[in-house]
Amino acid sequence: MPASLDFNVVATDIISRDKGGHHRNILGGSNYIFTHTSETRLLNPTGPKLFDEAGNGIFSFVLLDWIEWEGPIVSEAERATRAGVLPPAEAAPEAVAAHLQKFAERAWRRPVAPGELAPYLNAYAAERAAGEDVAAAYQVALLGVLTSRHFTYLVEGDAAPRARLNDWELASRLSYFLWSSMPDDALVTAARGAALTGSGLAAQVDQMLADPKIERFIADFPRQWLQLHRLGMFPPDGTLYPDYDVWLEASMREEAIGYFREVFSQNLPLDAFLSSDWTVANARLCEFYRLPAPPAAGFQRVSLRPEDHRGGLLTMGAILGLTSDGTRHRPVHRGVWVSEAIFGKTPPPPPANVEPIEPNPPDSPKATIRQKIKAHAQNANCAACHRKIDPLGLAFDQFDAIGQWRTRERVESGTGDDPPVDASGELPDGRRYRDAAEFKRLLLEDRDRFLHAFAEQLCTYALRRVLTVDDREDIRAIVGEAKQKDYRLKDIVRAVALSDIIQKR
């Protein structure tokens, strides 16, 4: 019977170039979606069983008789971007030089003096002399322009020191900050017309914030800020967490990005990152969080009740998972993450001579990780740092290594029942909390510290460098502006783009 089925397939997980494109043996990975009847593991008695004795499928899966691939698909829009890249077939050397200069000005994002291209025009001439036609010889010149340091690096400054960026450098800085790409025609025109000041600059930034390319900032900034690359770095143990799969992990990642997108596009206050009564989820996540199934397909805003134990970044599956190690939750890692992402402080690494953690003896009562890291508070050497780290992570002990809610901690080794979870704690300043919800309320009281750290994160991203004490005044100015705008996200991003610091070398 013919049927139409929709699949949500994360294509990069299937055709992975860096792993050499295993198309068939993908079952060998932890993140497979397709398999094939020639897959040897299906014949392996220790491999996963797909059918029961009666021949019925054990998992929900779809058998495909054939798949047709079409491609490569080159759209009209893509074709259009290539128009005019090559000079005409019978172009004279002067016309080729002019053509290359136009290209180099786009590639290097600034005016290019004719002499600068001499090495590349020489290469063109040498290729022509070696018998290549115009197009083939020109490709060598193009490649040279694209492997030049002016393309690879964002080159700022001259031999003579100057304190501020010129218009071209500013255009590039803004465009790599907000679009992760080169300036477009409008920005180039503004730079050429020296229009990147005052209201001209504000108008440009507003256009950039409204452009669809802002999506790159929305996807990339939270990835770096929240350290989302760590999600799945230690794949969860399949025995302990049978519900975890590649689609859940992809959904978790998308929740964090989608949440940031919602806060940004609605221009909500930063408080939403710390606590909220909504999130952005798809059906898979709603099932995982035990929320009602969402009305539509795909990601959407869904509301949360207090008994759902979610809301804000800190209790998202992605954050709870990336601060665990695949087997166990890691309160210290979670504390370090909160310290870095929320307060902008990286604790020093542990000294080299710490005592190893011993395994739990099988004949002693089961112990939680919290009980095992008590030494952090008792040993003066440890306590100096861990007093500031551990309370930021223990608040999330009611969430396991993949972020599921629990009231008891599953312990493999030892006697007796799994011990109940204690998620209470005391911050270094003496304020106490009983669980993650109360901890979030304490963070909200610290929103100014969070704002300050967040402004620093944004500036680090925009300037591509670590901030120093010399930047203090500039950050303070951005923070002041943000407070006037009620801590609203898009306004803060705009304030950074228009700030003084962004124009400094």
Partner: protein, 451 residues
């Protein structure tokens, strides 16, 4: 008999290279050493094999130092190679202590890692600087998860190949488009690099000192690419060695990583073939990332090595970890057996000129103990290595092994007993044996002495 058993292809290669030698331009470095006869020493090789997450150190540790040591349960499969190996205890990387799983990144570099630190060159790449003028390939990086053990001087990790078929084709198959097309492509690449260099040189004079560091990095990359382009061009006229018969059957095939044993052995076969045919003299093999060490389905082990290493004292998990460790040692033993059975150019076993280092950057995975690293150095008698003992750097710095008191042993695996016993001392020994002229590597404080 297969073609390579006689190495008759080398005759072609010598003839071709003599013809070429006269017109290769060598701008910055010696580009390529034409004839083997010109080398003062027989070829020397090195290979480094990493297993992630340390071992079940209670079953791994050899307790007696010196000649008359008894093999531990885990190392038992190496017993037949006793005279060709040196198990080493007590080494550590100071930069690895307290840095959890970063130990893999600095295993061959001895570097420091932190917010303001950058990794440095790995020892295999130092060696390749010396060996690569003689071989078609600079070095060979194999990594089942794509992230190799090799790092450039700028602290950038080199990519690794994971698929057996891909590695075979890379080493032994002529590219499909023919010599003329490749030569044209290389010439064009050379033109681009020349132009980039010309641009930089005109710029260098005008530049402030602050920008020079970044420029040097760019310049080094361009220059190295240029040298490799020229070498690749010179190698175009040298036919690749023909691999036939059993060697080809063994190595030229696709093996999924779910068949862990087959996969390990095929990778070892490929490295052996690369050395035997002198395609390269330096290889690294990462058998897993710290988070993704292979499960061993044929032993019924479905957990990754990371999961097993965080055993929390569970006897079942610890037993499986020992089985997984022993399994990796067995495959390494297979490699040594094949190296000892394969003849080098002068008829001696390949093992005599091949130094193989096997081990991990972690000892006690459960608590990320990065001291007393599990390491076995093998082969290379012809490079001056003297084997037959358990080299124990802990001796004289502690009260003896206490395997029946796990806490005490785990402490030894977490805090170095002998603070001066840097793993870089071992890497320095190997580098010098390969002909690298240096008296320091990483944070070495002296060269390790075997025997």
């Amino acid at each position: 008999m297969s073609h390579i058993a006689t190495q008759s292809w080398l005759i072609d290669r010598r003839r071709a290279l003599r013809g070429l030698g006269s017109f290769i331009a060598l701008p910055f470095l010696e580009c390529m050493v034409p004839a083997r006869a010109a080398e003062p020493l027989a070829p020397r090789r090195s290979v480094f094999i990493y297993i992630p997450n340390g071992v079940n150190t209670l079953d791994y540790q050899i307790t007696a130092a010196g000649k008359d040591y008894a093999f531990s349960r885990t190392l038992k499969p190496l017993e037949k190679h006793r005279q060709s190996i040196t198990p080493i205890s007590g080494l550590h990387h100071p930069g690895g202590l307290g840095h959890h799983h970063n130990c893999q990144k600095i295993w061959l570099t001895g570097g420091q890692l932190g917010p303001t630190d950058r990794n440095t060159i790995s020892v295999d790449q130092r060696m390749a600087e010396v060996t690569s003028p003689h071989t078609r390939f600079h070095s060979l990086e194999v990594a089942n998860k794509g992230e190799s053990l090799a790092w450039t001087a700028d602290g950038i990790r080199l990519p690794g190949m994971s698929r057996c078929r891909e590695i075979f084709a890379h080493l032994f198959e002529e590219p499909k488009d023919g010599t003329a097309a490749q030569r044209r492509a290389l010439r064009r690449k050379g033109s681009v690099l020349d132009a980039n260099l010309a641009e930089v040189h005109s710029l260098e004079k005008k530049m402030g000192a602050g920008d020079k560091g970044r420029l040097d990095q760019y310049l080094t990359a361009v220059r190295e690419t240029e040298i490799r382009t020229q070498r690749a061009d010179a190698w175009l006229d040298v036919p690749r060695p023909a691999i036939a018969g059993a060697d080809r059957q063994r190595a030229d095939r696709e093996v999924p990583q779910t068949q862990a044993g087959e996969y390990f052995r095929t990778i070892y076969d490929l490295i052996l073939l690369a050395f035997q045919t002198d395609a390269t003299r330096v290889a690294t093999f990462s058998s897993g990332l710290e988070g993704q060490g292979l499960a061993i389905p044929e032993l019924g082990i479905s957990q990754s090595r990371h999961e097993l290493s965080h055993h929390n004292g569970d006897p079942g998990h610890m037993e499986k970890l020992t089985q997984s460790d022993t399994f990796a040692v067995e495959q390494f033993s297979y490699f040594l057996t094949r190296l000892s059975e394969t003849k080098d150019l002068d008829g001696r076993p390949l093992l005599d000129t091949t130094m193989a280092l096997f081990g991990s950057g972690m000892a006690y995975g459960h608590s990320h103990g990065n001291a007393n690293l599990p390491l076995v150095l093998a082969g290379g008698a012809g490079c001056g290595l003297k084997h037959g003992t358990h080299l124990d750097l802990n001796q004289g710095h502690f009260g003896g092994y206490q395997l029946d008191n796990p806490g005490e042993h785990y402490r030894l695996c977490s805090r170095p007993a002998n603070a001066g016993a840097h793993m870089s001392n071992l890497l320095l020994l190997m580098a010098r044996a390969m002909g690298v002229e240096t008296d320091r590597f990483g944070d070495s404080n002296r060269e390790l002495t075997l025997g």
